[in-house]
Structure formats: structure tokens, C-alpha cells
């Protein structure tokens, strides 16, 4: 064997001391910035929004630490106040774009820009501004297109794209993007995001009413992923709901019971109540209307007791559906009106209130069927991810 050729294979590479020092210096710098950033971002969030553009121009804002804090803020605000999340995400984009490209070693600055644009896109998605969200996500991907080493970041951006594609009725593209992201997360050993990708696929299948495929996707996750107790409980819950939608009530009862038991063990009574909702729906579907209505009423009370008006209203619509099946339109109408009052008092999305108004009127005129109630319930549910989505009366009438 040619010994001269052995050297390149086995030679242990010497670390370039300058590069190692740059790495360590960057690591410590980021740590310092993270520590300092909480004060800066607190100050920023106390400042009136009209003055944010001035603040964004200040060089002490142009750090990775500040951008990370703003990113965390956006993530938490999305579920609570997407408009505020959007404003903060927009600010983060301005800051990220103002960071000089040589402020950090490559590829930190493109990475910062990509995440800022991704957060902006996500906030737009939550507000139902899908076309703008896709444009923002294009910017996020473009920022790191030339960075070979940021495949994980690219996948994080593309998961948001997959969610947006679902909303614009492009499910095939969404599936393709999710499959691609799953490979990347698996290769990086990122079990958490791998599980989220799987759940996103299940949700998409469920939305497409492919209940069997959705259930299989969830069952595979349950069998294959090293999930924690909370994730396991969530998976049992969604598998139970899919089973109920499939009419497989035996499996539905089994998985929902397991989910309820686990949620109680985890001291999460409201999650357990959501699983109980599946059981209530099961009673109604199997014709046990009185039992189903009583079961659902107890759950609705539990939601309302905890100030969960929207969940209480959605549960109320399940009851209204059962009442219509029983032929008790006056009671269903009265319940629909009660839900309108609750939604109005809680200042919930006016589009939901409008849809409920049409429903109560339709029940009053005896033109509403259980399918009409389902249509309104699904519309209200869709407002969670698309708060600006229009309510189409024609579609409701068609459903009825």
C-alpha cells in the first residue's frame, strides 16, 4: 500500500487558533448581549409605538441579543395578541436589516435576518394575511440562500411556509415542505421539531377530513417518537378525536380515556376537559343525545368557569347541534343567543359574533340543520389561525 497516500485520510486536522478564538469570542459576546438585551427590550416595549422607528436606529439595538429577545416576545405574543406580535416582528426586521453584515462572523447576520423575517411572516399568518406572509418568508429564505451551514434555520422558516400553504389551500405543497423539513430535523437530532412536523402533517390531514390518514400519522408518532408525557397525552387526545370522526368509537373511547387520565396526572384539567369534549361528541354521534348534552353542558361550564369563553362557545355549539338533532330548536336558539352575549362581553372576534348572529336567526326561522351549526363552529375555529377570514353566508346555507 502506498503509505504516502495514507496521510490525508488519517491526519488529524489542526484547529486554526484564530478561528477557534473567533468562535469563542462570538459565543461570549452573544452571551453578554443576551444578558443585556432584556433591559433594552423592556425599555423598547415601554416606549410608544410611534417612537419605535427612532429607537430602532440606535446602534445599541443592533445586536443579536436584542433580536433574540424580540423573537421570543413575538413567539409568546402570537397566541395572545397577534397584532402586537406583528408590530414587534416588524421592528425586529428593521433592526436585523440595519445590522452591518460584518458586525458578526458569517453566517450570524443572515441568520438574524432570516429569523426576523420568519417571525414577521408568522405574525402575518396569524392575522390571515397569507400573501404577505409568503412574501416575508421568501425574504427569510433569500437571506440565507447562500449560507450552506444553515439548513436547520432554513427548515425552521419552511415549517412556517408549510403552515401558510395550508391556509391558502395548497395542501400538496405543504406536505412536500413538511416532509423535507422532517428529514432535516431528523438528521439534526431535533426531536422536538420533528414531532411538531408530524403533528402539523396530522393536523393538515385532519383538516382535509382524511381522518384515517391523520390517525395513522399520529399513531406512528406515538409509536416512533421518544415523546414526553405531555406530548403523549396530546397525541392520545388527537387520535381519540380522529377516531370519533371516523366512527371508530371503541378506539375513540380508549384513546380519549387515556388522554383524560394523563392530563389529570399532569394537573391539566382544562386539557382533560378538551378530551372530554370528544367523549361528549361521541355520545351524540351514537345517538345517546341526553347523555351527550348533559356531558357537554358540564364541560362548557368548566370552560366558562375558567374564563375560556371561546372554548365554552364552541362546546355550546356542539350542544346546539345535539339539540337540533333532538328536534329542540327553541332551546338551540336560546343557547346560540347566550353564546353571542358571552362572545360580545369578552370582545371576541366580531366575525365570530356575526356568524353566530346568522346561526341564531337561521335556527329561529327553522332553516338551520345540525350541519349549519357544524359550519359555523368550523368557521369560528378557523378564525384562530385566520382571524381576518370572511364569513360566507352562502357557504353556511349550502351546509344547511
Amino acid at each position: 500500500m502506498n503509505e504516502g497516500k495514507l496521510a490525508p485520510f488519517a491526519r488529524r486536522r489542526l484547529v486554526d487558533p484564530a478561528r477557534a478564538a473567533e468562535f469563542a469570542a462570538t459565543a461570549r459576546r452573544l452571551q453578554r448581549e443576551r444578558e443585556a438585551a432584556s433591559l433594552i427590550t423592556d425599555q423598547l416595549l415601554r416606549t410608544p409605538r410611534s417612537r419605535w422607528p427612532e429607537l430602532a436606529e440606535r446602534t445599541e439595538m443592533h445586536t443579536c441579543g436584542v433580536l433574540e429577545h424580540l423573537g421570543n416576545f413575538v413567539a409568546h405574543a402570537l397566541g395572545r395578541d397577534p397584532k402586537q406580535a406583528l408590530a414587534v416582528a416588524e421592528l425586529a426586521v428593521s433592526i436585523a436589516e440595519a445590522v452591518p453584515t460584518d458586525a458578526y462572523p458569517r453566517p450570524v447576520v443572515p441568520q438574524l435576518c432570516a429569523h426576523a423575517w420568519k417571525d414577521f411572516g408568522k405574525a402575518l399568518l396569524y392575522l390571515g394575511r397569507f400573501a404577505e406572509a409568503l412574501t416575508a418568508l421568501d425574504r427569510a429564505e433569500a437571506a440565507i440562500a447562500e449560507c450552506e451551514s444553515l439548513a436547520h434555520d432554513r427548515a425552521i422558516v419552511r415549517v412556517v411556509r408549510a403552515a401558510t400553504l395550508q391556509e391558502v389551500d395548497r395542501p400538496d405543497e405543504s406536505f412536500a415542505v413538511l416532509a423535507e423539513c422532517r428529514t432535516i430535523f431528523r438528521d439534526h437530532g431535533d426531536q422536538k421539531r420533528l414531532l411538531l412536523c408530524g403533528i402539523a402533517e396530522g393536523v393538515l390531514l385532519h383538516r382535509l377530513r382524511k381522518y384515517r390518514e391523520a390517525r395513522e400519522a399520529y399513531l406512528l408518532l406515538l409509536a416512533a417518537s421518544p415523546v414526553d408525557t405531555e406530548a403523549e397525552a396530546c397525541l392520545h387526545n388527537v387520535i381519540g378525536h380522529c377516531s370519533v370522526d371516523l366512527g371508530d368509537y371503541e378506539a375513540g373511547a380508549l384513546h380519549l380515556s387515556r388522554a383524560i387520565e394523563m392530563f389529570h396526572q399532569l394537573s391539566q384539567p382544562l386539557q382533560a376537559a378538551k378530551a372530554e369534549l370528544g367523549r361528549g361528541r361521541m355520545f351524540v354521534r351514537t345517538g345517546k343525545l341526553a347523555r351527550g348534552i348533559a356531558h357537554l353542558r358540564a364541560i362548557r361550564s368548566e370552560f366558562l368557569r375558567h374564563g375560556m369563553t371561546e372554548e365554552g362557545g364552541l362546546c355550546g355549539l356542539e350542544i346546539a347541534e345535539a339539540l337540533l338533532l333532538r328536534g329542540d330548536a327553541p332551546e338551540a336558539e336560546s343557547l346560540a343567543r347566550q353564546i353571542i352575549l358571552e362572545f360580545t362581553a369578552a370582545s371576541l372576534n366580531t366575525r365570530a359574533i356575526t356568524a353566530l348572529g346568522y346561526l341564531s336567526q337561521a335556527i329561529g326561522e327553522r332553516t338551520a340543520s345540525p350541519a349549519t351549526v357544524t359550519g359555523v363552529r368550523e368557521y369560528i375555529l378557523s378564525l384562530r389561525t385566520s382571524p381576518e377570514r370572511e364569513f360566507f353566508l352562502a357557504a353556511l346555507r349550502e351546509a344547511g
Partner: protein, 173 residues
């Protein structure tokens, strides 16, 4: 090498992290993906810098870095003009944790030579083509007159045999 946890990483000196993973990641880029030497070192540096923004959330640093360098190497070739292979080829090129451990366990020239000496002539020839002559899997396949997929299997088998024989020899000393 056991996976480095987030807590461990926090305690370690950053220079030590760099030193610990630099060689392994560069070997993967060079030998598994045929990225030119100097480019591979830049890729590794970028991967390690890119990790810093995520240091709080990565639970298994070694797995994350290996995934990152494999994808970075593929992306390098996408950007630098090599025809991207079929899905099947990409699948074959995906990091095989077993073979990465083997590379990691052959730290110096002596070890490599000794490992090869433990093998029969055919196994030795295959590994020589792949790792010393720098042949791609397809080139190894062409020279052996077998299909590419089978060549990949043979290479993995040879690496495993080399590791097994080398360990056995080590124990008998």
C-alpha cells in the same frame, strides 16, 4: 463519544468545543462528501458559528453538528455546480452514524494503517479506493463492476469489518 448535553456545553470552554468537533466535522465534509479541504474547514467553522444562536436549545450537540455538516456539504455542492444526485443517491450519502463513529475512532495514520492491515485484500482494496484514492461511490462501483447501491453496502461492510478487526487485534495485545 457520549452525546454532549446542553448543560455540559454550558460548562465547557468554547475553545474546547471547537477543538473537540472540528476534526470530526471536517473529516465528514472531506471524506463523505468530497468537499475540498480548505472549503471543508470553512464550512465547519460556519456550522460551529451557526450553532451559537441555538446553543440554548440543542440537546445533543454532536448529533446536531453532524446533521448540520452533512446538510452543509450537500448545500455546498448545490451552490457549487455538482449535479445533485437522485433521491436514492442522497439517501446513500446521508450520515451513517455507525460509519461516522468508525471515522472518529481512527484518529491517526497508524490506526488507519493497522485497521487496513487487519482486512483481507478485497476489503482493503475497496477502502483504499474510497478513502485513499478519493473515489466516489459510483466510481468504486464502476471499478468493481457492481451496482452503486451494492458498492455502498460493501463500503459500509468493509468499514465495520475494519473496526471489528482492529478492536479484536487491540484486545489481543
Amino acid at each position: 463519544m457520549s452525546p454532549l448535553t446542553r448543560e455540559d456545553a454550558a460548562d465547557l470552554d468554547f475553545e474546547a468545543i471547537y477543538g473537540q468537533y472540528f476534526d470530526l466535522l471536517a473529516q465528514i465534509a472531506v471524506f463523505k462528501f468530497q468537499v475540498p479541504d480548505s472549503e471543508a474547514e470553512t464550512l465547519v467553522h460556519d456550522v460551529l458559528i451557526g450553532y451559537l444562536r441555538k446553543s440554548e436549545e440543542i440537546l445533543d450537540l454532536r448529533a446536531w453538528l453532524i446533521g448540520a455538516i452533512c446538510h452543509a456539504s450537500r448545500h455546498y455542492w448545490r451552490l457549487n455546480g455538482r449535479t445533485v444526485g437522485t433521491d436514492a443517491e442522497i439517501e446513500r450519502e446521508r450520515a451513517d452514524p455507525a460509519s461516522l463513529r468508525i471515522l472518529d475512532s481512527l484518529p491517526d495514520q497508524l490506526a488507519a494503517r493497522e485497521a487496513l492491515e487487519c482486512l483481507g485484500p478485497r476489503y482493503r482494496e475497496i477502502l483504499h479506493m474510497r478513502y485513499f484514492e478519493g473515489c466516489s461511490v459510483a466510481e468504486v462501483a464502476a471499478r468493481l463492476g457492481v451496482k452503486t447501491k451494492y458498492a455502498q453496502k460493501l463500503i459500509t461492510k468493509c468499514l465495520r469489518r475494519a473496526e471489528r478487526e482492529y478492536r479484536r487485534k487491540g484486545r489481543s495485545r
